[in-house]
């Protein structure tokens, strides 16, 4: 389950970009730097290409042999800064290219430096795009990347994309160009449909992983292709196949046959068009599965009146699946089938019921058996009572996500501060929490901060905007303040509810490790933004919406923007003047301003701002509604 890569991004790029740094670096060896100082680019490249003398060559070979064991990209970044020789050796041995912002660098540059990469991880749109805050057509297309890689990386094996636009043509090119290709993971992408999947299935003969997670897949009826049938007829090497987000009916006969001839298959996550009866057939074919996405988990009424699947039969399939550690799906779950999973509960490490409208009563018998659960995603329909049950049993819980069944501001939610307290008391090893609710108190959040000191990710979403502590009527400042104060490992924070400048003062003072901060409808003034930008030295990603922060706050971050991956602000109090000033003072920053087409472009108010550092300056695929300052 990678709906969001939370605090798991341990190896963030931490290059220190100093604004205004020019000329030759004072680092030892001069030009052996990474290309972080753009003025020295040409200089570095020129020297890098010159062949070193013989003994130097031997040394470099030795170095390469050593460096190939270095996996962590932060370590690699550091190694590349030592001197020219290390830079070259590191570039030749880096196998995985991680690019956190596709516009921070161009394909030519990235591929030009790292000529031997076998894997690419590429992220595109900012996260707020998931909530329709980035207009359609903004960018982040995979096309230029795949085209460049087709030429430069014939041995490419793995691609992982997040929030990119990938077309069917891109997928076809990918499938044709890389004979060793084995692993495709697409998360929150769009632009492709079943024709693209068919190309991948058919042409990637060594495919081991095809994971499609939360993508927006085209499912125009006229264009749906039976992609499952396109896999090779011989035994496949498939290890993982996830297509929960592909919202078209699948050819079940072909799917079953595919599973039957994929002896290495360990992870299978089907979409909601697979009924529970069909699921059972699949499980019989693949009892060795470790990860299972169950599809609809309900019976489809059959025209010929065949008997519905017996719960006992289904349960026996689960009994046979002795290796199951991760269960998800349950897209339409018929509650009478839920008991079938009891046999595997004790072994489950991860359970995702977040699409199932289970009540507390339905959840209890399940959760009470899940002693080893570490990851639990659930809907708020289970209520505080369901959470209490989870807290009672799941002592090893590391990650909890409670999603709202009805995601509106004034909906009724069955979870509240009580549930949060229960979880904090029962699950003290908690590291990551995402909690949607309508009612919360500072006291509950403070309690959690004291009980769960291992928290790395704390995301609380009180759905009513500006909602205060529902008992005291006070702002939620103290609660979030306690989190940053007590949870010393915290790297990711999302705040909500009624919040004043005070909470940002706390965050600045105590949140020294915070890398990602999400702010919505919070704060009173520019002070808030200033606090954060001046105090949170490790801040990488800052996303803000609908908060009264203006130019003064924006300008207070000038010293830090080169060290961040991005800043996003929408519906704040920014003006064109302020944004222009940032753009002027930080030439290596790309400052994008966009908003409603309706507005006159010379109106000074800025609706949306997205700024990020880049080695290559303004991108060349800017749509008409975006202005780069």
């Amino acid at each position: 389950m990678t709906e969001d890569c939370d605090g798991e991004e341990k190896d963030e790029e931490t290059r220190r970009w100093s604004p205004g740094q020019g000329g030759s670096s004072s680092r030892g060896g001069g030009s052996g730097t990474s290309s972080s100082s753009p003025l020295k680019n040409r200089c570095v490249r020129g020297r890098v290409d010159q062949p070193p003398p013989f003994s130097g060559q031997v040394l470099e070979n030795v170095l390469e042999n050593v460096l190939q064991f270095l996996a962590c990209r932060r370590d690699r970044n550091a190694a590349s800064l030592v001197c020219r020789s290390w830079y070259r050796a590191e570039a030749r041995t880096r196998l995985e290219l991680f690019i956190g912002n596709c516009y921070a660098v161009s394909p030519a540059r990235a591929l030009g430096r790292f000529r031997c990469a076998r894997a690419l991880v590429l992220k595109g749109r900012p996260r707020f795009a998931d909530f329709n805050l980035v207009p359609v057509g903004w960018g982040a297309r995979f096309s230029p990347w795949v085209a460049a890689m087709a030429a430069a990386y014939p041995w490419l094996e793995r691609v992982c994309l997040k929030r990119m636009t990938v077309s069917d043509a891109d997928l076809a090119l990918l499938a044709r160009s890389f004979s060793s290709f084995r692993d495709l993971t697409l998360i929150c992408c769009d632009g492709f449909g079943t024709p693209g999947l068919a190309a991948v299935a058919e042409l990637c003969r060594n495919l081991r992983v095809l994971d499609l997670i939360e993508n927006d897949v085209e499912d125009e009826d006229e264009e749906v292709v039976d992609w499952i049938s396109r896999f090779p007829e011989t035994d496949t090497c498939l290890e993982s196949l996830s297509f929960e987000c592909v919202n078209c009916p699948v050819n079940f006969v072909a799917l079953e046959a595919l599973v039957a001839r994929s002896p290495c298959l360990r992870r299978l996550r089907v979409n909601q068009h697979v009924s529970v009866g069909q699921l059972r057939c699949l499980m019989v074919r693949a009892p060795q599965l470790t990860h299972l996405g169950t599809g609809s988990f309900e019976t489809v009424p059959v025209a010929d009146g065949a008997a519905e699947l017996d719960v006992a039969e289904l349960e026996s399939s689960f009994v046979a699946s002795k290796s199951l550690v991760c269960l998800s799906g349950f897209r339409m779950v018929a509650p009478e089938y839920l008991p079938a999973i009891y046999p595997v509960c004790a072994g489950l490490v991860s359970l995702n019921l977040s699409y199932a409208m289970t009540t507390a009563e339905q959840l209890k018998p399940v959760i009470l058996r899940c002693h080893n659960l570490q990851t639990f995603w659930v809907l708020d329909t289970v209520g505080d009572e369901g959470l209490r049950a989870a807290a009672k049993t799941c002592k090893h819980l590391r990650e909890l996500r409670v999603f709202p069944f009805e995601a509106t501001e004034d909906s009724e939610s069955a979870v509240s501060d009580a549930g949060l307290v229960a979880i904090s008391e029962g699950c003290q090893k908690l590291r990551s929490i995402l909690y949607f609710c309508q009612r919360m108190t500072n006291a509950a959040v403070v309690t959690m901060s004291k009980n769960c000191q291992d928290l790395v990710v704390f995301r609380l979403c009180i759905m009513g905007r500006h909602r205060p502590d529902h008992i005291t009527g006070e702002p939620m400042d103290e609660g979030f303040g306690a989190i940053v104060m007590n949870c010393k490992k915290l790297t990711r924070l999302a705040v909500s509810g009624l919040l004043t400048d005070k909470v940002f003062e706390y965050i600045a003072k105590y949140g020294k490790l915070v890398r990602t901060l999400s702010v919505a409808f919070a704060g009173n003034s520019d002070l808030s933004l200033r606090y954060v930008l001046e105090g949170c030295h490790k801040l990488q990603k800052l996303e803000i919406r609908d908060s009264p922060f203006g130019d003064a706050g924006l300008l207070s971050g000038i010293h830090h923007y080169y060290n961040m991956r991005f800043l996003w602000m929408n519906s704040c109090k920014l003006s064109l003047r302020g944004c222009k000033e940032v753009a002027q003072r930080l030439p290596r920053l790309v400052v994008e301003v966009f908003g409603d087409q309706n507005k006159e472009l010379d109106s000074d108010a800025v609706e949306k701002l997205y700024l990020y550092r880049s080695l290559v300056g303004p991108r060349d695929d800017v749509p008409s509604f975006v202005k780069i300052l």
Binding site: D130, F131, N132, P135, V136, M357, E406, A407, F436, D546
Partner: protein
Amino acid sequence: MVTGSSAGEKDEHSLGFEETELRLGLPGGGSGGEGDVGKNSGKRAFAETIDLKLKLQAAVDTKDMAAEGAAVKLMRSPSQMSIAASATDPEKPPAPKAQVVGWPPVRSHRRSMLAVQSEKPSKEDGERPAGSLAAFVKVSVDGAPYLRKIDLKMYRSYQELSMALQKMFSSFTSVSSSCGSRGTNGGDSMNEGKLVDLITGSELVPTYEDKDGDWMLVGDVPWEMFVESCKRLRLMKGSEAVGLGQYISTFHCTTS
């Protein structure tokens, strides 16, 4: 502290203010993501509509949406929610609080899944009553190489829908700049909502496919009925509607 901030507006809403706000100034105002506050007025004028049934043939022929091109292929994003602030008809009972784009921050993928589920007949006593929480329809705009899905339940009038569509397809349409008067008749204020196809200059005609598979002109039926029967939306080029006589290029709402 600058007033008129988005925070201020939301406070009003949280107090249950349902007043329509009359504002002068540029459409989209400078405040908040829900910038179209100023565009809303109460009732719509009843304009002449002709009950037109547009058959699908013409639509299919022109449906080579440049999807084959090397350019960005069908980019369909999840639904966009209404951005209009309070725009209720004073005669109707107070509507629920206006929705804000992207809030609460739940991915549309998740919303649409749950909406689909909630519509199935509920077998359990403990379940929430199965009302349809959403009505997702695909929207295509002639000339735009991608579709979008929107949730019709997020809007309460044709005007809100029109606003949202303009925002969504902002790169392909532009709003004609006439800021008409905002009388309560609303007649002239309709003109602000004209969708003008930037490329050809012809106006876009909003049409929809109803439950029977017929293509109808948007605006003929009361809003609620439209939401129930609409299966998909298509904004056609005005030239497609040649021969059908008078046609409407903006949304109108019949007062029921």
